[in-house]
């Protein structure tokens, strides 16, 4: 489902991603590990079709990763940075609106988002507006929103950030459920607990200019 061959990336003329090669099949969850600056987020941006690789090939679903391609966009759900939220809609309305845009009913969208919130035991956040969420609650809401839309590939950049230990375990369980349902996941993470919870290859990124993986 995801095929990366000798991909490198350059930003502002400076190399930011050393060559990397790996595959992720449907039903696998690959974890990206590496020190700060090793290019985890950059690689996810390449896989999300937002950044063009400087060299090598990044394929998703058999085609080059390209955000402009509607078929590609239908395949890939990504949480890289904060998702766009409307200040005057509640969380549950965000779930419904995203769902109907994918041809799913508003009620089903609400159920999909609420499943994630309730797994985190924060179902009461459903009627909150974005500005009423704490930092950790905002992260759980962002994860729920990302997992509301249908997809075959899930890209997550440090999804454990700002979550407490118990909720990192819940997150691991939720992502494993997505994997068991057939999704291919690529997760950049510094959390050993999350990496241990996921089934799939570990991809170690080497910091550009450093001999080891850091």
């Amino acid at each position: 489902m995801v095929a990366v061959r000798d991909v490198t990336a350059v930003l502002g003329g400076a190399p930011v991603l050393a060559p990397v090669t790996f595959d992720v099949r449907a039903g696998q969850a690959a974890t990206l590990v590496g020190s700060n600056g090793s290019g985890k987020t950059t690689l996810l941006r390449v896989l999300a079709g937002i950044l063009r690789p400087a060299s090598g090939e990044a394929h998703v679903g058999g085609a080059p990763a390209d955000e402009k391609d509607p078929t590609f966009r239908a395949l890939v759900a990504a949480l890289i940075g904060a998702p766009p939220l409307a200040s005057n809609l509640t969380l549950v309305e965000h779930f419904s609106l995203v769902a109907v845009s994918w041809g799913i009913s508003a009620a089903e969208g609400r159920d999909r988002g609420m499943r994630v919130l309730e797994a985190f035991e924060v179902g009461a956040l459903a009627t909150r507006f974005p500005h009423e969420l704490s930092s950790g609650q905002g992260q759980m809401a962002a994860l729920a929103l990302t997992l509301t839309r249908p997809c075959d590939v899930i890209l997550l950049d440090e999804p454990e950030q700002r979550l407490d230990d118990d909720r990192v375990h819940v997150l691991g369980r939720l992502l494993e459920e997505e994997r068991e349902d057939g999704a291919a996941l690529v997760v950049a993470s510094h959390s050993v607990a999350l990496r241990d919870a996921l089934t799939g290859p570990t991809v170690r990124l080497r910091e550009v200019g450093r001999a080891d993986g850091g």
């Binding site: 999300a48 937002i50 955000e67 509607p70 966009r73 239908a74 890939v76 759900a77 990504a78 949480l79 890289i80 940075g81 998702p83 766009p84 939220l85 409307a86 200040s87 005057n88 809609l89 509640t90 309305e93 419904s96 609106l97 995203v98 109907v100 845009s101 994918w102 041809g103 799913i104 009913s105 508003a106 009620a107 009627t127 909150r128 507006f129 500005h131 929103l145 990302t146 839309r149 249908p150 890209l155």
Partner: protein, 504 residues
């Protein structure tokens, strides 16, 4: 003792690393004096010359001015209260507010000076504007000196009431945040619809305005106004005591971000910083069904109501703009163009709350895919709410503006103006800070001219709205040039929007 502590604290704060201190204060006075001498004197002379003209004096003394003044003062009171809920008079730099708000000092000691300074600016500003307008009237013998002094006293009094409303807005919590302005606005509207003696302070203040053919000023409204103003001033310590620390700190932080955004030319972020957060309707069911178009339009139309005051202001902008747009062709000469441009600007501002969905769509298409429709379709769908809502309110107001046989024309002009302004809004939603090349200093013998580039960047939407207003005037007369102008503005806005998205 507490006063000493506050003074010592302020002295210490004045010595901070980036503080301007005494030298900065002296420099500020020097600059202000220069500005007044170089620009103020000639400006004031020119203004006085204009105000002494017979037509202007006649216009100032028209009965409609006194009636309009009452409404204007009511609007100022409501606006002051609403402003207080997002940026009250007890706001300074965040650290200063934080240190004072979390100390054991009484609120009136800690923030009394700040509030007094801000309130004095409002009171003296009101009296100053009144003096500028009425001294020429007295000079021309159209009102006595005693009447002038009464009018100035009334201005001071209503200024004090408006300043207290500003502080009361900062103290307000819960439903009072939107209920008080609604009640005040209702009272103002009732006084227009029901011809009865004025019962509100703004009516009493307006009674001090000179009207041609009316001798003297009634004593009762002035006494009532003085009593209410004194009561308002006396209530200030009690209001200060009710200021809540977390809200003070939040307002100060928000104001600081707004100030920084505004000074760097990012006007939309600056305005967003002051925007009220939704307070009501969290349990409304506004997104349903299976159709994304219907769900998005319903959400975008209904969600703004969750910030009732913002919607009220927007409705006034759309409705007032619609009325002015319909009446403008009847105004003489340049006034017609000015009225039409003002109307378009009011409609542009009024479209704001219903364009939140459009702004959300613009952010969404710059992020990893969340919605299951193409970028173009997403933007188009989210543009429907401001288009439909704007046309409905503006069109209805334009039709209701007066009897006439040009209903279809009025509706058509309103619809065209709203449609083009939604395109201008789309462009504004993708605007951030000005590009570096605009902020690069352009040293000339006349000073740094880069400020004009930044001003152009900040005010381009306002200028486009003005052009749309002028074109609307021609559109009413069936001018082909006006149609071309509107098409060019819409096309320019859309092209610029795409360019801004690409350069992000």
């Amino acid at each position: 003792m507490a006063a000493d502590r506050v003074a010592a604290f302020r002295r210490q704060y004045g010595r901070r690393g980036d503080g301007s201190g005494r030298a900065g204060l002296v420099y500020g006075i020097y600059i202000a004096a220069l500005v007044v001498l170089v620009y103020g004197g000639p400006g004031l002379r020119a203004l006085a010359g204009q105000l002494h003209r017979d037509q202007v004096l006649d216009a100032l003394l028209a009965p409609s001015v006194a009636r309009g003044l009452s409404l204007g003062l009511a609007a100022a009171t409501v606006a002051a209260f609403s402003l207080g809920t997002v940026r009250g008079p007890a706001v300074t730099r965040p650290f200063l507010v934080y240190a004072l708000a979390t100390s054991d000092l009484e609120r009136r000691r800690a923030f009394g000076r700040t509030v007094a300074g801000a309130s004095a600016a409002v009171v003296l500003g009101t009296a100053g504007v009144t003096a500028v307008l009425l001294v020429p009237v007295a000079d021309a013998g159209a009102m006595s000196v005693a009447a002038l002094l009464v009018s100035l006293g009334a201005a001071l009094a209503i200024g004090a009431i408006v300043a207290t409303a500003w502080l009361a807005g900062q103290v307000a919590t819960g439903p009072a945040v939107w209920a008080v302005p609604l009640v005040l606005a209702g009272a103002a509207l009732a006084s227009i619809l029901v011809p009865a003696p004025g019962l509100m302070p703004w009516d009493w203040a307006a009674a001090a305005w000179p009207v041609a053919g009316r001798a003297g000023v009634a004593a009762l409204p002035m006494i009532l106004l003085a009593v209410v103003a004194l009561g308002a001033v006396a209530s200030a310590p009690m209001l200060l005591a009710h200021l809540r620390g977390p809200e003070l700190i939040q307002q100060a932080r928000r104001w600081e971000s707004t100030r920084v955004a505004a000074t760097t030319g990012d006007l939309s972020t600056a305005i967003a910083g002051l925007r009220a957060a939704p307070t009501v309707g969290r349990r409304w069911s506004i997104v349903g069904g299976r159709s994304f178009v219907l769900a998005a339009v319903a959400a975008d139309l209904a969600a703004p109501v969750r910030t009732p005051m913002r919607v009220l202001g927007a409705l006034i902008g759309l409705g007032g703009g619609g009325v002015l747009l319909a009446l403008a062709p009847g105004f003489p000469g340049l006034l017609a163009g000015l009225a039409s441009a003002t109307a378009a600007l009011a409609i542009y501002l009024g479209l704001g709350p219903w364009c939140d969905g459009l702004a959300h769509a613009v952010v969404a298409i710059s992020a990893p895919r969340l919605f299951g429709v193409s970028d173009g379709r997403l933007v188009l769908i989210r543009a429907l709410a401001p288009l439909l809502g704007g046309i409905a309110v503006t069109g209805a107001a334009a039709v209701a503006a007066g009897p006439g046989d040009h209903v279809a024309t009025r509706l058509g002009v309103s619809a065209a103006v709203v449609a083009v302004l939604v395109a201008v809004r789309l462009d504004a939603s993708a605007k951030g800070s000005p590009p570096l090349f605009l902020t690069t200093p352009m040293v000339t013998p006349m000073g740094d001219l880069s400020v004009f580039g930044v001003l152009l960047w900040v005010l381009d939407a306002v200028m486009l709205a003005g052009i749309v207003g002028l074109a609307a005037l021609g559109l009413g007369h069936g001018s082909g040039g006006a149609v071309v102008c509107l098409v060019i503005v819409a096309g320019w806005a859309i092209l610029q929007w795409r360019w801004r998205l690409r350069s992000r």
